[in-house]
Amino acid sequence: MTTTYDARRGTLRGTAGPTSSTSQNLMIFVLSMSLFGLSNILLEVIPDVSLGPVEISVSYFVFIPLTLAALLSPFWVALGAPLGEIVFTDLLMGDFSGLAEVEGFIQMFLAVFIAGSLIRNPRSRVQLVLGALLVVGIDKLLSAAVDLAKVWVGVEEAELVAGLPESILLLEGIGFVVDLLMSGVLFGVVPALWLVPQLHGRLEPLLGLQPREPGRPVPGSAPRATWFVVVAVLAGAGSFFFAFLEEVDMSPGALDAELDASFLWISAGAAAVLLTIAAVLFAVHRRRAAATSTLRDEDAA
């Protein structure tokens, strides 16, 4: 009792530093992985309703990674969420599909990371709505591009086959709209608008973090260089998509058979490039995190 009002005798050696250290990033990553994984187990149990070729189903609970990305570091949330899906449902429930998982991982990572980085103020409803739609939009756009690529590469002179491009585009289009409505709005925008304000200021202290304030840059956000890469990848995917659209109306015979074989290499190359980019992102971030923590140690000393 008597010591409570004494002066602190020891020399002060460190103060509350920047709020993002390696272990805190790990915590965000594990949290995102666990929660998104859990939500995927739930969806695994709920039966899907199919109307003909179009599935009226919820692909994922977008509000979970979105809420986390709005409140915590989008980069680590974006890394954790798709891994949670792969580990918890696909792998442990015996539903692992090899390379397709890599596709899914990259799509979801980009979607959550970009949408999360756009949310500057977790209290802004407009930003949350945009964020939720962006996650689904980006993810589904990329996955449509991959699907189209598979048909384009897989079928000889695909654009020559009557009705094929149109029908695939139609199915992808309907699927896109349904997903945007079901996953993006019903299980994205609506829950996020309720959940984010509820958790803001409550969740962060449990992880030993300062709540995010509007305008203040998020610790752990990507450096500018990664933004450049992200934009480039998206632009690439987008241009592929639109190139295919144009291809549908193009006059036949523009492509010769030799070029066809090279499509395989293009797609394999694209996958490799995406993987490398992911690895680079990871490495860059790690170096940055290391730099920050060294800085902190220097401050402290």
């Binding site: 859990l38 792998l91 442990l92 397709a100 009557a162 029908s167 958790l199 992880l207």
Partner: protein, 277 residues
């Protein structure tokens, strides 16, 4: 009200634990379970890439049969296999219907067969490779291929945490179900009940976020204290973990046989070529 309640065995904690144990023991002694996981990944890549080099339907058909043989050797359960076949067929039918709608003809259907065959080979290969592969072994393989240690860790962590998380969620959801008001009437197609349930599930995530955050904190502290971060820097840790992986004669034999079989498929295709159009 003629309601009679019985016991359901789905989405209970017990069910999740059983699913996990089944995955862990799913190694029903199949071929793949005895192989080195790194070789399995390579073998999978070989089989999954093979169909994309050809447009010859005969070759594709042969590859499909080959992949199916491996599925049998890996002792994939009938349920998983049945679901796969149904999915494959319905996919094709829908595409064909849509294509015919846009003035397509038999040629279109053949084109679709081609792409379906290719995707089918890839799916069969992943069934054979991964359904009977122990997640821990896959985790080791990822580590061996220099994937980030975090990814390899995620696998075993998920293994450990899934039952706990599901238990937490089902308890919270149960509590919410009993205490939250429910609609008295269902409405058309019971939409009110649907909305009610969806709301319950979403709302349950508020406590789940906070409770999980709390337990994750302990986990990460414990990880740190037991050298998790140190291991990502220390090459010795990786060496120890990978020491148990060993490429055996069986692995080489399987890869060699697969290579020969793939070449064989191409030879058959060259002998009796069948192309669209």
């Amino acid at each position: 009200m003629a309601l009679t309640r019985t016991t359901h065995d789905v989405l209970s904690v017990e069910w999740i634990k059983l699913e996990l144990i089944r995955t862990a023991y799913a190694t029903r002694g199949g071929l793949v379970a005895r192989m080195d996981p790194r070789v399995v990944l390579g073998w999978y890549a070989l089989l999954a890439l093979a169909p994309w080099f050809t447009h010859n339907l005969t070759t594709l058909g042969a590859l499909f049969v080959l992949a199916a043989v491996f599925v049998v050797l890996a002792r994939v359960g009938p349920l998983v296999l049945g679901l796969f076949v149904i999915g494959l067929i319905s996919e094709m039918v829908y595409l064909a219907v849509a294509a015919l709608f846009f003035d397509g003809d038999l040629d279109t259907v053949l084109a679709l067969t081609e792409v379906t065959l290719k995707l089918g080979v890839v799916s069969l290969a992943s069934l054979a490779a991964f359904v009977s592969l122990d997640p821990e072994k896959l985790s080791d393989a990822l580590l061996a291929l220099r994937m980030p240690a975090t990814a390899a860790f995620a696998v075993s962590y998920g293994y450990r945490m899934m039952p706990i998380l599901v238990e937490e969620f089902s308890t919270v959801l149960e509590s919410a179900r009993l205490r939250e008001p429910a609609p008295s009437r269902g409405g058309v197609l019971g939409w009110r009940h649907l909305v009610h349930w969806a709301t319950l599930v979403v709302r349950a995530f508020y406590p789940i976020f906070l409770n999980t955050a709390k337990s994750v904190r302990t986990t990460v502290e414990a990880l740190e204290a037991r050298g998790f971060t140190a291991a990502t820097i220390d090459p010795r840790a990786r060496a120890i973990r990978l020491a148990s992986l060993r490429v055996t004669g069986l692995d080489l034999a399987v890869v060699a046989a697969t290579l020969a079989a793939v070449v064989g498929c191409h030879l058959i295709g060259a002998q009796w070529p069948l192309h669209r159009g």
